[in-house]
């Protein structure tokens, strides 16, 4: 019997529940609790994929998230999702997985030809080849290389269900990362001290390394039981901490188990944003590989992974394995396999016989001391290995798996991200990093300690230290099973690479060999970060967790420097792949952004309005579903001929109160407000600090120290921020209170020649005659019995009254106005009609107040006050802002009245059509004037009034001769608004 197989009971699998799944079209069976990797091994599969560049056959190398090779595409109802790790993907009924980066099949991959051409495809080959002809790179070479390289395929939007993921905010006194012996012991101490603890473990079960040693079962179970009884401790499994962001903020990705997923409607991932006062990093030390020729053949696996497959899933990585290790811890795999009945062919150890080797020999396992593996035979699976030892002839050993261990590399990513400095630890031949004391501590294997008992003791001590730092009384030591003692071990001897002919990989995911690293060094990429970017070593999903340090060691040897000096690649978030869906959380589709609804939204909807998004607002565009201009023109015509009513509640409204309110407004606005009488409104313009126009609107004086300021809809939030900033940072001596009252007041404009009659009917207590309530008058009044405010202001150019009432009363007042207007055939009008009316009249809006226009450009120069300071005063005086050739506001009309205008049409001289003189900002068919009318920004526009230009829209292939006219195309004397 050869190859991997299930040989017993696993800690995490349920032998009574069989699960059917497919891999590359073959129907296979696993057990509940299996990962795809363990299930494939249980089915005797060693070959699971092809490599990134050389398309070499690849198998399963690890048993966790550090896996570089066993990436698969998962095909579900929503499509094909690439790059799922077989080593963490749980097997579920009906799972369909396919291998990646091969054609036509996994066994026979045409592009494995690349492997034979490998000497022509070293690291960075594409920087030096494919140089000519220049045009061919983008059109031929790059597409070909991209097609040949890569991993999975994305063929559909993944996770297209109602709530693909969610984001949860967590808070804790201490975040403990990792639930091995150190993390569990620390969490218990911290929880016993009364601290809020969040224990995050990326595995499906708590325990870490204790899951792999049956002697630790009792300790683990008792500790977990005590933790469960501590109310302030929360243990999260399947939760990987992805990054540390400073100020105690961490990101963690929780993958939901089946039950939790069903409860949350099929949710798959949950991004947790954790805020903690301290962190305890007990995230262990991943095992690392050894670089030697053939270290990527399917069947070559890390020894620790083989132990996990055996203990957790009852799966042997091979029935006749050879081990190649340089440390005593890895012998546990040989002993466990032998104990489970597997015939271990040999353990190859470059060291002399040590304590673990002696134990192995006592168990009947052959140990070849002082030897190294120099070659692996077999292409789609390990068949034999060649072993060399100084002074002895090479030996060929028959094997179906090669289990390797080059030592352990403490996980330093999070500590480094927190600012911890790397420290070289000679004893383990690796770097460690402690977070700064103010951020937390590291413990256990992450601190470079070996042995579960040592780690547990260290974790407990770190927990006590953190508890003391956080001002908690130290709890008594926990009673219960004493942890099993660590076995004495012979020190590790560093072994990074066995140099022998053939490809020796340091990064299996990116097909980077030790020779590639030396090439980078020869090419001058001597810094480890430069080497990374030249070779792509330590990139992609595994981030070089099992080979990054080996690559550093190869570089160090090439440079003739100690590895401690060369360092290791700086880790950045994310430590593991994160689906975009998890980052987006629940704020997608209908929840992508808030919708602001008008107080009368339901009325508008019932009345057949077509809505338009303006900022966050949903505004009625026109009360029709038709896409023609006719309904718009009917609404506008009603205003010009009789009366219309429109909802202008979206206007920004800011309540300004205080003894210095008038002084403040004089500073905010470019024109004067301190002279405004109570009961009157005034149009005002605001400038930015750079002198450009910022916003406009009317401001009313409701009392001697009480104003109501209105802004454009688009700028309402920015205007409030502008006011708050200047009040708090610039006008700190002024006693003024600003309150955003936009949502408080619903506001309607009743406009048209019959507006007075309609308004009078709903405001019986107010004399609306021209003498008593002239243009720009303001009053408080009962409106349809509701306390409100009346403003005689107009944006349409017609006689108009704006009625403001508390939003809750909006339906009552709106309905009363409609009733009052019925004799005059009152019509509600939407944003399109409002635009038609204001364009005819020459009123500007955000199309013209676009951030690039000055007061002079829009004809407001005379509004700038001559004395007193205001925002933008100095820079508005720049000659450039009043230069006669600037784009200035004008009106435009087609000479041929049957021609249409378009927003964005360029204005050109007939004799120089390639040179734009300006453009149309707003246009509409007119109800009062014949044909279309528009507003435009035109170079030296005012001087061109009365001339003709051409309006052209090349993308519509349209050209129209235009008259340049005054922007005030209708009633320039304002007789209508004062009627």
């Amino acid at each position: 019997m050869r190859g991997p197989a299930r040989i017993g009971q696993g800690l995490l699998t349920d032998p009574t529940r069989r699960i059917g799944f497919q891999f590359d079209g073959a129907a296979l069976e696993g057990l509940a609790g299996d990962t795809l990797a363990s299930a494939l091994l249980a089915n005797g599969r060693r070959l699971v994929g092809r490599s990134f560049k050389y398309h070499r056959p690849r198998g399963i190398v690890t048993a966790g998230s550090e896996e570089p090779c066993a990436l698969v595409d998962v095909i579900g109802a929503a499509g094909r999702e690439p790059n799922r790790l077989a080593t963490t993907l749980p097997v579920s009924e009906g799972l369909v997985a396919v291998s990646q980066n091969r054609w036509p099949s996994l066994n026979l991959d045409v592009l494995s030809l690349n492997d034979l051409l490998g000497r022509f495809l070293p690291a960075g080959f594409y920087y030096k080849t494919f140089m000519a002809p220049g045009w061919a790179w983008e059109r031929i070479y790059e597409p070909l290389i991209r097609r040949a390289a890569g991993l999975g395929k994305l063929e559909a939007i993944v996770g297209d269900h109602a709530a693909p993921a969610e984001i949860v905010h967590d808070h804790a006194d201490v975040l403990v990362v990792g639930a091995g012996s150190a993390g569990l012991a620390a969490a218990e101490v911290l929880g016993s001290a009364g601290l809020r603890v969040l224990l995050a473990e990326q595995d499906v079960a708590l325990g870490g390394g204790t899951l792999l040693d049956p002697r630790w079962s009792a300790w683990r179970e008792e500790t977990c039981r005590r933790l469960a009884a501590l109310p302030a401790v929360r243990c999260l499994v399947r939760t990987a901490v992805l990054g540390a962001y400073g100020h105690g903020v961490f990101g963690a990705l929780e993958t939901l188990g089946p039950r939790e997923s069903a409860r949350f409607g099929g949710l798959r991932e949950r991004l947790r944003i954790v805020r903690a006062r301290r962190v305890l990093l007990a995230c262990g030390a991943p095992e690392r590989l050894i670089a030697f020729p053939g270290n990527d053949v399917p069947g070559v696996m890390l020894a620790g992974a083989a132990l996990r497959f055996l203990r957790c899933y009852g799966v042997a990585a091979g029935r006749h394995p050879v081990l190649f290790v340089n440390n005593d811890e890895a012998y546990e795999t040989a002993l466990a396999l032998a104990d489970a009945g597997v015939r271990v062919a040999a353990v190859i150890d470059p060291r002399p016989i040590g304590l673990a080797a002696a134990r192995a020999q006592a168990a009947g396992i052959g140990v070849l001391a002082g030897a190294c593996v120099t070659r692996v035979f077999g292409r789609r699976g390990v068949r034999r290995v060649r072993v060399a030892a100084p002074g002895a002839a090479d030996r060929i050993i028959d094997a179906d798996a090669l289990l390797i261990s080059g030592g352990y590399t403490p996980a330093t990513s999070l500590a480094s991200q927190l600012g911890g400095r790397l420290e070289w630890q000679e004893g383990i031949a690796a770097f460690t990093a402690d977070p700064p004391p103010a951020a937390g501590r590291s413990a256990g294997a992450a601190r470079g300690l070996c042995g579960l008992a040592t780690a547990a003791e260290n974790g407990a001590r770190a927990g006590r230290a953190l508890a003391a730092e956080l001002g908690c009384a130290l709890p008594p030591l926990a009673s219960g099973s004493a942890p099993p003692p660590d076995r004495n071990a012979t020190p590790l001897v560093p072994l990074w690479e066995v140099r022998s002919p053939g490809k020796a990989f340091v990064d299996l995911q990116n097909d980077v060999t030790a020779e590639d690293v030396r090439l980078a060094c020869r090419e001058g990429y001597e810094h480890i970060e430069h080497m990374k970017r030249f070779t792509t070593c330590s990139m992609a999903t595994d981030q070089g967790r099992i080979g990054g340090l080996v690559a550093g060691a190869v570089l160090a040897a090439a440079l003739g420097k100690p590895l401690a000096e060369v360092g290791q690649v700086k880790p950045r978030p994310f430590a593991e792949p994160v689906p975009f869906a998890a980052l987006a959380g629940g704020e997608v589709r209908g929840h992508y952004k808030p919708r602001r609804r008008l107080p009368l939204h339901e009325w508008h909807e019932r009345s057949g309005a077509t809505f338009v998004n303006t900022g966050l607002w949903l505004r009625p565009l026109v009360y029709s579903r038709a896409s023609s201009w006719e309904p718009v023109l009917e609404e506008a015509r009603a205003v010009r001929r009789s009366v219309g009513i429109t909802d202008v509640s979206t206007l920004g409204k800011i309540d300004v109160q205080g003894p210095d309110a008038a002084r403040f407004l004089d500073f905010i606005y470019a024109n004067t407000f301190s002279t405004l009488a109570v009961g009157r409104a005034r149009y005002g313009i605001m400038l930015r600090e750079d002198g450009m126009l910022f916003d406009d609107g009317t401001t009313s004086r409701l009392g001697s120290s009480h104003f109501l300021l209105t802004t454009t809809t688009a700028n309402s939030a920015a205007a409030l921020e502008h006011l708050e900033f200047h009040l708090q940072a610039v006008c700190r001596d002024l006693d003024v209170v600003l309150t955003d009252v936009c949502d408080q007041w619903a506001q309607f404009a009743i406009a048209g020649p019959r507006a007075r009659e309609v308004a009078a009917a709903v405001i019986p207590g107010l004399d609306l005659s021209n003498n008593a309530f002239p243009f720009m008058a303001v009053a408080e009044a009962k409106i349809a019995g509701i306390s409100g405010r009346v403003f005689r202001i107009s944006f349409s150019g017609e006689l108009a009254y704006e009625l403001a009432v508390p939003a809750a009363a909006a339906p009552t007042v709106w309905q009363a106005a409609l009733e009052a207007g019925r004799p005059f055939a009152i019509r509600p009008y939407g944003l399109d009609a409002l635009n038609t009316l204001r364009i005819e009249k020459g009123h500007v809006t955000t199309a013209e107040l676009n951030g690039n226009t000055s007061a002079d450009d829009l004809g407001f120069q005379r509004m700038l006050k001559k004395s007193g300071d205001f925002i933008g005063r100095t820079l508005a005086a720049r000659p450039a802002l009043t230069a006669p050739d600037r784009l200035q506001l004008v009106g435009v009309r087609p000479v041929d009245r049957a021609q249409r205008l378009r927003n964005g049409m360029q204005l050109v001289a007939p004799e120089a059509r390639s040179s734009s003189l300006g453009y149309i900002t707003s246009s509409t068919p007119s109800v009062e004037l014949e044909g279309w009318v528009g507003l435009a920004l035109l170079a030296g526009g005012r001087a061109r009034i009365g001339t003709r230009l051409v309006g052209t829209s090349p993308i519509h292939a349209e050209s129209t001769e235009l008259e340049i006219v005054s922007p005030h195309m209708l009633d320039p004397e304002n007789t209508r608004v004062r009627a």
């Binding site: 629940g586 209908g590 929840h591 602001r596 408080q744």
Partner: protein
């Protein structure tokens, strides 16, 4: 009005809402005005229940008063008349929607949108804070009966829809109106 034993109960909380803001030089005058009207002004980040209603502060020198709804603008008018210029008074009754969330899972549900630490030890009864939830401004205040949530009226439906969806996995009950009087009564017992 009782809290559910499991899950979450969501109830609208109709109320008149008045904002009082002290003018810089007249903070003492506002304190005096409040005392005259039997209202205690809590410190920033706090909420108190009194006979007039609930009073909370999430910005220094500003207080929100929630009281039983009367005619539109009436509560604010009474305060404005009484203040005689001693402070700024603004009626926000229509500007803000109020909800009461009750039940053991409220904190867990709100953690899906709220960055604040709402664990009862960190955010006990009487604590109030302004925050952002699902891109919408919100004020949260813990009362004895549950969590009071205030949010701008025009985006309240957006937030409510989110609350309903987020509450479902925990078990959601849509409850009848929670009145300010009941909240005050339960908070003072």
């Amino acid at each position: 009005m009782s809290a559910p034993e499991t899950g979450i109960a969501l109830a609208p909380c109709p109320a008149d809402l008045v904002e009082l803001v002290a003018f810089r030089e007249r903070a003492g005058d506002l304190g005096q005005l409040a005392a005259e009207r039997g209202v205690r002004l809590p410190g920033p980040g706090e909420l108190v229940a009194g006979p007039e209603g609930l009073t909370l502060s999430v910005r220094p020198g500003r207080w929100l008063l929630l009281s039983r709804p009367v005619a539109a603008g009436e509560s604010a008018r009474r305060w404005a008349e009484a203040s005689r210029g001693r402070c700024a008074v603004a009626d926000l009754s229509s500007a803000v929607a109020a909800f009461l969330l009750r039940g053991p899972a409220v904190g867990e549900m709100l953690a899906r949108a709220c960055r604040l630490d709402l664990e009862p030890r960190a955010f006990p009864v009487g604590r109030a804070a302004a925050t952002i939830m699902v891109q919408v401004p919100a004020i949260l205040a813990r009362l004895t009966p549950g969590m009071l949530l205030l949010t701008p009226a025009t985006t309240a439906l957006h937030l409510r829809e989110w609350l309903v969806q987020a509450s479902r996995p925990f078990g959601l009950a849509l409850a009848s109106d929670a009145t300010v009087s009941e909240l005050c009564k339960e908070s003072s017992t």
